[in-house]
């Protein structure tokens, strides 16, 4: 395929090698473009994954930590333990108010207790839902005064 001409110094590439080389170059160029595109998609995907993970951890700590430790869970003072997933309705509003700064800092748009009325118990006036590129909604089961309720925490991402 590759020849050396005796008197003239140089390589002569025959047509099949040239065509193969051009095809390989085109394939390499397409692959490179595809790899760049994929890296971008993966980075975006990974970013979303991380944000979803943070949102889940935040909601988890919210219902597992006691109200005096940046959470909403009830404390059993007799047993000196935190009653995870149990929330007292009487102190809920006060606890949410206390946590407002943290909720805003963590891009929480609203917290809703699903049931008869779906009025949010927390609403972030600084962020509008329509301005968010991506919305993460986490639903967890909690017990409010012994009744099972579904709590939905909505986060704004981007």
């Amino acid at each position: 395929m590759v020849h050396i001409i005796g008197k003239e110094k140089g390589f002569v590439f025959c047509m099949d090698v040239s065509v193969a080389f051009i095809i390989v170059l085109i394939l390499a160029f397409i692959s490179l473009a595809a790899i760049f595109y994929l890296v971008e998609i993966r980075a975006e995907n990974f970013k979303c994954f991380e944000q979803e993970k943070n949102a889940m951890l935040f909601v988890d700590s919210l219902i597992k930590r006691s109200s005096d430790q940046n959470g909403l869970a009830k404390v059993d003072f007799q047993r000196r333990s935190v009653l995870e997933n149990e929330i007292e309705s009487a102190t809920l509003s006060a606890n949410i108010e206390k946590l407002e700064e943290r909720l805003v800092k963590n891009n929480v748009i609203e917290i809703i207790i699903k049931g008869s009325s779906e009025e949010p118990i927390f609403k972030n006036d600084k962020i509008a839902k329509k301005d968010c590129k991506h919305i993460i909604s986490i639903e967890r089961g909690i017990s409010i005064d012994g009744d099972f309720k579904v709590m939905r925490v909505v986060f704004c991402d981007g």
Partner: protein, 131 residues
């Protein structure tokens, strides 16, 4: 014809055309398919926390059921509220008491809890969410 057999790409002088032999064509097609399939599969891999969230929801339900010693009706109502868009089953002492949606899948996330009543009889509650 001898030239055609010996090389992948040949320039046939008199006909002014490139001739790709059958094996070269096959080789190119296979390489292209492999590259495209790999790229598509990589692009479609989406990381998410859905499984972990399902597990957390199962634990939320089981915790509440253990604390309140919930009845079967309450269990079904509460599971339907929290796992609204999921296919799931509730089993008590290995007996299926409720089933929602398609539960034939092999992929499932399951959690189990035990309740002891006043006479120390054990009640085994199993909640399984299917993919």
């Amino acid at each position: 014809m001898e030239i055609l057999r010996s090389c992948a790409w040949c320039f046939v002088m008199d006909k002014r055309a490139f001739v790709l032999s059958l094996d070269a064509t096959l080789c190119l097609v296979i390489v292209a398919v492999v590259i495209i399939a790999t790229l598509i599969s990589i692009a479609n891999i989406k990381l998410n926390q859905h499984e972990l969230l399902i597990l957390q929801k199962e634990h939320d339900l089981l915790k509440h059921w253990v604390k309140t010693r919930a009845s079967e009706d309450e269990m079904i109502e509460q599971a339907n509220a929290l796992l609204a868009n999921e296919n799931f089953t509730i089993e008590i002492n290995d007996k299926k008491v409720f089933s929602s949606g398609d539960t034939a899948s092999n992929k499932a996330i399951s959690s189990t809890a035990f309740i002891f009543d006043e006479e120390l009889n054990v009640k085994r509650m199993k909640l399984t969410v299917f993919k």
